[in-house]
Symmetry: C2
Subunit: 199 residues, 2 copies
Amino acid sequence: MEGKEKLSVIINQIEMLTQAEKDLIVDEVHVEDFEKGTVLISQGQKTSRCYLVLSGCIREYTNRKGEEKTTNFFTEGEGTAVYVGGGKNQVSDYTLECLEPCTLMIGSESMEDHIRKLIPRLDALIQQVSKEKLEASRAEMTRFVHSSPEERYAHLMDTKPYLFHRVPHHQIASYLGMQPQSLSRIRKRLFDQETQPPN
Amino acid sequence: MEGKEKLSVIINQIEMLTQAEKDLIVDEVHVEDFEKGTVLISQGQKTSRCYLVLSGCIREYTNRKGEEKTTNFFTEGEGTAVYVGGGKNQVSDYTLECLEPCTLMIGSESMEDHIRKLIPRLDALIQQVSKEKLEASRAEMTRFVHSSPEERYAHLMDTKPYLFHRVPHHQIASYLGMQPQSLSRIRKRLFDQETQPPN
């Protein structure tokens, strides 16, 4: 499937847009393929780009006190934040790297402004999405703060089990804020519990 | 100072608005005083209200598996999320309680729509604030995941030292995702380090 076709599949899920509006967005926006290993944005770089994953997987990470910390994974249908790089000439706190060959829709503030002008009522949708993203981010924080390492692992297995097949486990451990050995121990313990014969 | 005067002080800091627009907002919005201990929103309640703290302190908490978990404190100039209760007839995941006598600006979706119609260019400001809130929430998550309990405590002391004078410490411990005893231990250890005589 070509990049624009992949984009159509995702855009077509937006119920509030007419077909003409969907076609217009697909025509206007920029879609590009990237090789595995491509660094899309580097920490410290000035940028206001964002990416919507049409296929593939992006890892987001940041360097804290000399150590690389994985902060997010983005797969099909997920978008990196527009705030990478911020709007006020800030530099990005994160590096974005393609963990797989990726087809991505590339957004920018100027493209967003351009599309908004073409479809003014898109504003309401963007605002709704922003609110939902903020709500999700807050809920994730609450859940994380008040859960054990086991619960954090179990939650990721429940919500994004495919990551364990697509991403190196030491990066998942970092994302969960634990050492790789701790993740292995937890996985083994839970696996043993599940496969234990009934008494 | 009366509630509306307190509101003026905060609204006047918004540089992009004209004086006439600021006055209009102050005239239109609803400001109310609440006694210490007032529950503004209960977990499970259907609502789309939000609050901007003009004076006082609100605690946000949630009940997880029978245990009360503190998720946020809001003081002067800080606003609870509009997403409390969500837009789609969801119920609130959080309870909001006044820890002190509070003067609050009360927002609602209908009030937001009303003000937006009066000042259409407020949209841009609201969108900017939404992006910044999302960015801040993401940064907070990254920091939290990849820091030790000591670092989490030190960060709160750096950014909101006043909370330690205004809020029961067991609620701060919960907010930091630790037991009250752990918070006491960390505080004692860091205090001892600071007050140690030089060799």
